[in-house]
């Protein structure tokens, strides 16, 4: 739907005229667009890195760490999540047309949504203070699904640089 040229263009044109967009796109400072990208990668490392460690632990790596102890890392993982929500919004403000007219962007968001829902489900099952009856098989399935979704989100995110149809609303097509 959003690939249809013109439909959301007034919205894109408006964002692309805001002062924040202009600063992100035009500033030559390393603390503008480059540092937002770098922060987005730090958030990725904190959230997905620790979630992957948790997933591999559920699958049997490092068996002497009690799984429930990974709940101590949850605040760090949520810090990574919010860091990336914030830096992601800034990246979106910098290039709204580029992201929102690319189906791969929605795939990335969908995968992040599923992976986050899986983390919440895993938290309920194995990271609570009072652990409910063990469901080892189900949790292992969740761990595998989590790894697949995060890997997919990373690949989709990286491909955003190569698969976009339009860079800006004003810049026309291709």
């Amino acid at each position: 739907m959003l690939r249809t040229p013109g439909m959301f263009d007034p919205f894109f044109v408006w964002i692309e005229s805001t002062a924040l967009n202009r600063w992100l796109v035009e500033s030559t400072s390393v603390f503008a667009f480059p540092m937002v990208l770098a922060v987005h990668t730090i958030g990725l490392a904190l959230l997905v890195g620790l979630n992957a460690a948790l997933d591999f632990r559920i699958l049997g790596v490092a068996p002497h760490i009690p799984v429930a102890e990974f709940r101590r890392f949850l605040p760090v993982m949520w810090a990574g999540f919010w860091l990336n929500a914030a830096s992601g919004v800034l990246l979106l403000i910098a290039y709204p047309t580029k992201a929102l007219t690319n189906p791969v962007f929605y795939l990335k968001l969908g995968l992040i949504g599923v992976a986050t829902a899986i983390l919440l489900a895993v938290r309920r099952r194995v990271l609570a203070e009072q652990i409910p009856a063990p469901q080892a098989g189900r949790v292992k399935l969740l761990a595998v699904a989590s790894l697949v979704c995060w890997a997919g989100a990373i690949v989709a995110g990286r491909l955003l640089a190569y698969t976009y149809n339009r860079l800006t609303a004003a810049g026309g097509f291709e």
């Binding site: 770098a38 990725l44 490392a45 890195g49 979630n51 992957a52 591999f56 490092a62 002497h64 760090v76």
Partner: protein
């Protein structure tokens, strides 16, 4: 040092098979994706260990966290392989790039930190009685590791914004050349 950089650039240029492969349509994006996945495996397993050293998790022996090392090794191997492929494709874009210089510096510091930790503090924390009292050396090693690996990620991400464009003739002479005349 500039002569070493030039030698390294010329040597890496010899890997023209890798360079040709990397310049096919999807090879570069795939290698980048693998590099980012490797980054999460490496950083996540190391961060869990660092946070344990800092006392975020108590009552679990540090040796238990040691078993995450295979994940770190897997992540590091993926990234060393894909990283070498980037370097062999466009050696000058990295070898004369100040962001890449800083990335390598912090990689070295992270490596030195872990070696120093194993040579000194690890023996003192890897005993049953040491569960909840964390020596200051272990805390320093944990913070140093987190800071170094975050710096590696940040400067790695900044590489693309500091690509060298050859010499203009008025480059300041520093320890590392930013171009080769």
């Amino acid at each position: 040092m500039a002569n070493f950089q030039h030698w390294l650039e010329q040597t890496l240029r010899g890997a023209d098979t890798v360079a040709a492969l990397m310049q096919t349509q999807w090879a570069w994006p795939i290698a980048e994706s693998v590099h980012f996945i490797g980054l999460t495996l490496l950083f996540g397993s190391i961060a869990a260990w660092d946070l344990r050293l800092l006392g975020i998790v108590k009552g679990v022996p540090i040796a238990a966290f040691h078993r995450l090392v295979p994940l770190s090794v897997l992540g590091f191997t993926l990234n060393a392989a894909t990283g070498s492929m980037f370097l062999m494709t466009f050696p000058d874009q990295y070898i004369y790039n100040p962001a890449f210089h800083l990335k390598v510096l912090f990689l070295g510091l992270a490596g030195a930190n872990v070696l120093l930790f194993y040579a000194t503090t690890y023996r003192r924390v890897d005993v049953p009685g040491a569960r909840d009292s964390i020596p200051i050396g272990a805390r320093v090693a944990g913070v140093t590791s987190l800071v170094c690996w975050m710096a590696v990620i940040i400067f790695g991400r900044l590489i693309t914004f500091y690509r060298p464009n050859g010499c203009t003739g008025d480059e300041a002479i520093t320890f590392l050349a930013r171009c080769f005349p």
